[in-house]
């Protein structure tokens, strides 16, 4: 056995010694070029845990850029901060024949703040190298290393970060002492790594992929981590900003987070505690009491993100939020918890991966700190668990919306972590119902009223109009409802902030030249209010499943009163499609001078097989055709 390991080790060494590879682009396998703008010729990434507060990352990567679209991938971005120290950066650039044309180092890199747009301040910075090569293809080789002073979270290995990137060869090796236990999860690469012991007696876990074709963009794809290769590593024992810890389960990780990052952060001044008791003293129902507390927090605070050091994972003190009236998601949840505690309501601080487009949950079978990017609040009542996002000043208590719905979250509690699931909004919840009554005059002008009710995640659809000036509201409505020459006589938006929230919009409108008149005929578009004008693009040889994040139902009914004495020139609209992922029906009927148009579109959330995709395109084509129906009226 020992001998075997030694052989492997020698083999690896000889590969490393041979690193000066030939980067002639003619050596790229031809089957890798379709849809590719970038070829990763060889990427070698190693992570070596030297100690609980000393981890060395080393990346060597050779990338061939085939055309301008690959330039972004050629840019090196190396982030650093006080816990992550950049050791060196070296690089070389080769022309298409594989001849070296230039080289660079850390001093040639630009230095920028790496703060997110949503943050006021973060201590993260980055070194960036942008090559200036105008002759394609070219090959760029990076070699850089950094040292991380914590072992709570390890960066994932994600060898394919973009569409258009093909991989000739890419490997990842995790090196540690034999007694440093890790858990790992590999997706779309061999589930089990090659495990060896090197000359220093260290354990090596190696994953590798080769000859992977470039992925192209496919609409309605699942979250990228479902279909692109990755390896996640989680430690058992770790050190984070000098705090030791260990975990084997979500329960233990949640406990550690609670004890070390949250528990001591919730003290409030007696005045604040007194005040919150005072304003809730007449409410007996705990849920309504919590709602009052939440609304108080909303009226008092707003979102400001400052991430410095351990503060990236630890909330501000509740008393500071109370004083300065702002905080990030962590701080505002922690503050709300403290306020709730003052009125004897227990609540949970929950880690969630927030995303509007995908419902990505924490992985049940793989606890790890790298999952989750947001904190929400969970208030468990006897028969009813209520959720809240504390970063909005306007949403109702109990409303999560598309940002955090339907996914696993980690509640960090004194008893330990609990994996919970946030509520799901289905097509029965996300409802948009519209009724309109319009009159078309002899001169083609239209006037009338329209009422729309929004429920579920649609509740927020009119938020940006609220409290705006009439001029601004009119501008926005003219974009939402593409009726030419649209003028708004009256707009009224009402929001019901109860536990089943809804928004109701009432509009009175008019527009000239809605119908055109020529040769004794009127022409007008039947559906100008709620139109779909484009189908999802067709995809040849689709690879991914079809993912519809959540369901929805929209129903429109418009009654047009048309000039008297006209009949339809062509068949009335009558479209109906039924598919596993949804259904659509649009009909019209002319009774006397009343033309009634009804349209219903329902989508059912879920993941469907890739073969369903063409059905989805056809489904939308039927909708586009129906929405394009042009009414032609002829004099009787």
């Amino acid at each position: 056995m020992r001998l075997f390991n030694l052989t492997i080790c020698l083999l690896l060494l000889s590969v490393a010694a041979n690193a000066q590879q030939n980067y002639d682009v003619n050596l790229i396998p031809k089957e890798l070029t379709p849809y590719a703008n970038t070829i990763v010729r060889n990427s070698v990434e190693t992570v070596e845990v030297k100690d609980l507060n000393d981890v060395e990352y080393h990346v060597t990567e050779a990338i061939t850029i085939l055309n301008k679209n690959g330039d972004d991938r050629a840019r090196l971005i190396a982030e650093y901060d006080k816990m992550k120290e950049l050791k060196y950066i070296k690089g070389y650039i080769y022309n298409s024949f594989g001849q070296q044309i230039s080289k660079f180092s850390k001093s040639d890199c630009e230095d920028y703040s790496a703060a997110h747009d949503f943050s006021l301040f973060e201590d993260a910075r980055m070194k960036v190298y942008t090559p200036s090569i105008t002759q394609y293809p070219y090959t760029i080789v990076y070699d850089y290393a950094y040292r991380s002073k914590q072992t709570l979270g390890f960066e994932n290995w994600e060898p394919v970060e973009h569409h258009g990137v093909a991989i000739e060869k890419s490997s990842f090796t995790f090196i540690c002492k034999p007694d440093f236990s890790i858990k790992y999860k590999a997706t779309k690469v061999s589930a089990e790594p090659l495990i060896t012991t090197d000359a220093h007696g260290l354990k090596n876990y190696t994953w590798q992929i080769s000859n992977q074709k470039a992925a192209k963009y496919e609409p309605y794809s699942p979250y990228y981590s479902d279909y692109l290769p990755s390896v996640e590593i989680a430690p058992q024992k770790f050190n984070y900003y000098g705090i030791d810890g260990s975990y084997n389960s979500w329960a233990e990780l949640g406990k550690w987070e609670y004890d070390n990052l949250i528990a001591s952060r919730q003290a409030l001044t007696p005045e604040t505690m007194q005040h919150i008791k005072e304003i809730t003293k007449d409410i007996t129902d705990p849920k309504l009491k919590a709602k009052k507390v939440y609304e108080y927090m909303q009226s008092k605070t707003h979102y400001i993100s400052v991430q410095v050091g351990i503060g990236g994972n630890q909330p501000f003190l509740a008393a500071d939020v109370d004083k300065q009236n702002y905080g990030d998601c962590k701080a505002l949840v922690n503050y709300t918890q403290a306020l709730l505690k003052a009125v004897d309501i227990n609540s949970y601080y929950c880690v969630v991966q927030a995303d509007d487009d995908y419902t990505i949950g924490l992985q049940k079978d793989f606890p790890g700190m790298e999952q989750g990017n947001h904190i929400i609040l969970c208030v468990p009542f006897k028969n009813d668990t209520t959720w809240a996002d504390c970063t909005s000043q306007t949403i109702p208590f109990g409303y999560l919306g598309a940002f955090t719905d339907d996914r696993n979250v980690l509640a960090c509690t004194p008893e330990g972590g609990k994996l919970l699931h946030t509520p799901k909004y289905t097509f029965n919840d996300n409802i948009k119902t519209r009724k309109a009554s319009f009159v078309i005059e002899n001169n083609g002008a239209i006037s009338g009223t329209m009422t729309t009710v929004f429920k579920g995640i649609d509740y927020e659809y009119r938020d940006e109009l609220i409290n705006e000036s009439k001029v601004e509201q009119d501008k926005m409505l003219q974009k939402i409802y593409p009726i030419n020459n649209l003028l708004i006589d009256k707009l009224d938006i009402a929001q019901d902030k109860s536990f089943t929230p809804s928004t109701t919009e009432n509009i009175k409108l008019h527009a000239r030249d809605y119908a055109s008149f020529a040769d004794g005929k009127y022409y007008f578009l039947l559906n100008t209010i709620n139109r779909i004008t484009e189908t999802p693009k067709e995809v040849r040889n689709r690879v991914n499943d079809v993912y519809i994040a959540r369901g929805s139902t929209e129903e429109d009914e418009i009654t047009y009163t048309i000039p008297a004495g006209y009949h339809l020139q062509k068949e009335p609209l009558n479209a109906s499609v039924e598919k596993p992922f949804g259904n659509f029906k649009a009909t019209m009927e002319l009774k006397g001078n009343q033309l009634i148009f009804k349209r219903k579109l329902q989508l059912i959330g879920g993941t469907y097989s890739k073969d369903t995709y063409q059905d989805l395109v056809d489904f939308y084509q039927a909708i586009v055709d129906a929405d394009d129906y042009n009414v032609a009226l002829v004099k009787n």
Binding site: D111, Y112, Q393, S469, K537
Partner: protein
């Protein structure tokens, strides 16, 4: 950024401060606290109650003479949509070069709000919560968020910036996205310095006074009087942006300053900075990062020789040189009319700023024996330039002009897809100034020749099965050809472009495609698609309705508001022509022909023309949409909107085919 003027003060200094007009810090009246709305704009989320700025030239903290700018504002916030105003960034120029940085200090902030019991309280900004951020090698930011924000609160903050850049005298923005009750700017300019002030926007000053401050400046034994000028406005409305306009800053009310000349207080030497164009001409000519870089033909002579070898025609030479530099350089996204790295370094690294690249082009053209000059301009985003007198800081871009025979061509080598003689849209912003090294500079129109033009020719046969089969031919000419090439280059190959194009048209089945001149930048680009379109599901019907606008139909008017304040600026005229020929199956006739309409805007500003020609068993329907101007004034706007309205009305009409 150019080298700053730094004067060391060696001796004891004495300054007399003039009476400050600033309002008291940290006071919020009961009336202000109780305000629930701004009566002149009841939907405003916030209103500036008072705003005061002061600029002076004096001895700074480091004993150098500095431009010292102080800003102080008090804002009433009515609701949460105004909370963003409580997060403040103070950008300062912060070059790594230690002797030319700007410095911000004296930052303080305070929020007055009503607490849970309705009592007015104040909370100060803590110093440790002011975050200095080095954003990149040129800029730093001081960032802070004020505490205690609540509906109805009043925020107030102030800061001072010291700058060695006398030529960047702080401008003053009277108008912003929120209304202001009062805004005042005081400037104190010692007699050693001389600036031009210019006002932009439609609003008038309510206060404009000027007086002499005796002996207000003194440094190192030198002393002089100051001009003390006050500019003020009251009840300033919020600025409302409109679609299809150029830089909002062209229209926002503001006051800008341009350094004309100064005298060295210690030596008495007079330096003219800007006065007349002849002064600017001279200055730029001798500038190490402008004029001197335009005399570096030597750097390019050897590179150019093989490129133009054997070419005798000047236009051919110019095109070859242009193409050579377009492919030599990768633009590093830096703007400006001065070189950043200098030509030698830029050429060597294949990377440069706009000036690095286009100066190289000019030198190369000259090295090739051609007559080329630099043209400085301001991009659309950067705003318009002052045409009354030279304001050099208005300019942020430079292109080349080459004269061949009697023709002049404008060239920009920063984009490898631009055809010879075509400027990117961002450069089409009125006039540019031709900076010739040996002749006086002069204005030139930049957008006189450029057009975007496209032609769609379609020839179809309607099949018995209800499908249309035939050819679509699209020619993109001028700027449209450039845009088309850019769209194609987003893909790895033209095949991938075509695949993507048709993936958005599920009813179109592509049988064959050809793209002509994809890489011949100076020629129109032609796309030829043989297609079959599933138009009707029910073959065998005796009557079909047919929209002759099934391709390129306009259903939505891009112009929505009734009146505009500001012009519509598209940059250049445009022209689209559609010709459709349809051959009907045997036995079918056209029962209802399409509507035709010929309509034009006043003064030949634009038009829509359509014509219908029936033939035996077939017809040709064609139309032209033409906008003959790049810019339409707010007076022309209703006609523009109505032209679209009429086009949409016409395109609603349908044809009817029937079987005999």
């Amino acid at each position: 950024m150019k080298k700053a003027l730094i004067l060391l003060s060696v001796f004891f200094l004495l300054t007399k401060l003039s009476q400050a007009q600033d309002f008291a810090y940290g006071t919020a009246t009961a009336e202000e606290m109780d305000m629930t709305k701004y009566s002149k704009d009841t939907a405003a989320h916030a209103v500036v109650l008072q705003e005061f700025g002061e600029s002076k030239i004096n001895v700074g903290n480091d004993d150098n003479i500095k431009l010292i700018y102080t800003y102080h504002v008090k804002i009433k916030i009515f609701d949460k949509k105004g909370f963003d105003l409580g997060t403040v960034e103070i950008p300062v120029y912060n070059n790594s070069d230690a002797d030319s940085y700007e410095n911000a200090y004296g930052i303080k902030g305070i929020t007055s709000y009503k607490d849970d019991n309705g009592l007015t309280r104040q909370i100060e900004l803590e110093d440790k919560k002011i975050y200095p951020v080095k954003e990149n090698k040129h800029w730093a930011n001081y960032k802070f968020a004020l505490s205690g924000l609540r509906d109805g609160c009043i925020i107030e903050y102030q800061y001072t910036i010291e700058s060695p850049y006398f030529e960047n005298f702080h401008s003053w923005q009277f108008q912003s996205d929120i209304p202001k009750i009062s805004s005042e700017y005081d400037v104190h300019i010692p007699g050693f310095w001389n600036y031009n002030a210019s006002i932009r926007g439609f609003l008038k000053l309510d206060k404009n006074t000027s007086e002499i401050e005796r002996q207000c400046f003194s440094s190192g034994g030198a002393h002089c009087d100051c001009s003390f000028i006050t500019y003020g406005m009251h009840n300033i409305p919020a600025f409302e942006e409109e679609d299809a306009m150029t830089a909002p800053k062209n229209f926002r009310s503001a006051i800008n300053f341009e350094l004309i000349e100064y005298m060295n207080p210690y030596t008495g030497a007079k330096v003219k900075v800007t006065k007349e164009w002849k002064d600017v001409d001279y200055q730029l000519k001798i500038d190490a990062y402008f004029g001197r870089q335009l005399k570096r033909e030597g750097l390019l002579k050897d590179k150019i020789a093989p490129v133009i070898a054997g070419k005798t025609d000047d236009l051919d030479k110019a095109k070859a040189i242009y193409k050579y530099l377009q492919t030599w350089f990768k633009w590093n996204d830096y703007h400006g009319i001065y070189c950043v790295d200098g030509l030698a370094k830029a050429l060597d690294s294949h990377s440069g700023s706009v000036a690095d690249i286009n100066f190289s082009l000019i030198d190369a053209l000259k090295a090739g024996g051609l007559n080329a000059d630099a043209v400085i301009l301001s991009t659309r985003e950067n705003g318009s330039v002052n045409s009354l007198y030279p304001v050099i800081s208005d300019f942020n871009y430079v292109v080349a002009k080459v004269d061949i025979g009697t023709e002049s061509y404008f060239l920009d080598a920063t984009d490898p897809l631009l055809p010879f003689g075509v400027l990117p849209l961002k450069c089409l912003n009125g006039q540019g100034r031709v900076m010739s090294l040996d002749k006086p500079s002069y204005w030139v129109d930049l957008n006189t020749r450029q057009r975007q033009k496209s032609m769609y020719s379609m020839d179809f046969t309607l099949q018995e099965n209800g499908k249309l089969k035939g050819t679509i031919l699209i020619s993109s000419i001028g700027y449209d050809a450039y845009l088309k090439r850019k769209a194609i280059k987003k893909f790895n190959s033209t095949d991938e472009y075509v695949e993507d194009l048709f993936s958005h048209l599920p009813k179109f089945k592509l049988l064959k495609s050809t793209i002509n001149n994809a890489d011949s930048l100076d020629k129109p680009i032609g796309e030829v698609y043989e297609v079959e379109i599933s138009l009707y599901d029910k073959p065998g019907d005796t009557k079909f309705t047919f929209s002759p606008f099934f391709f390129n139909k306009i259903t939505e008017n891009p112009f929505k508001i009734i009146d505009r304040l500001y012009p519509v600026d598209w940059g250049m005229p445009s022209d689209q022509r559609n010709t459709l020929t349809v051959h009907l199956p045997k036995g079918y006739t056209v029962e209802t022909p399409p509507q035709t309409l010929n309509i034009g805007m006043p003064n030949n500003g634009g038009m829509f023309l359509s014509s219908y020609e029936p033939l035996d068993n077939s017809f040709t329907f064609s139309n032209v949409i033409q906008f003959n101007k790049g810019i339409y004034s707010n007076v022309e706007y209703p006609y523009l909107k109505e032209l679209y309205n009429k086009i949409i009305q016409t395109e609603k009409g349908e044809m009817v085919f029937s079987k005999k």
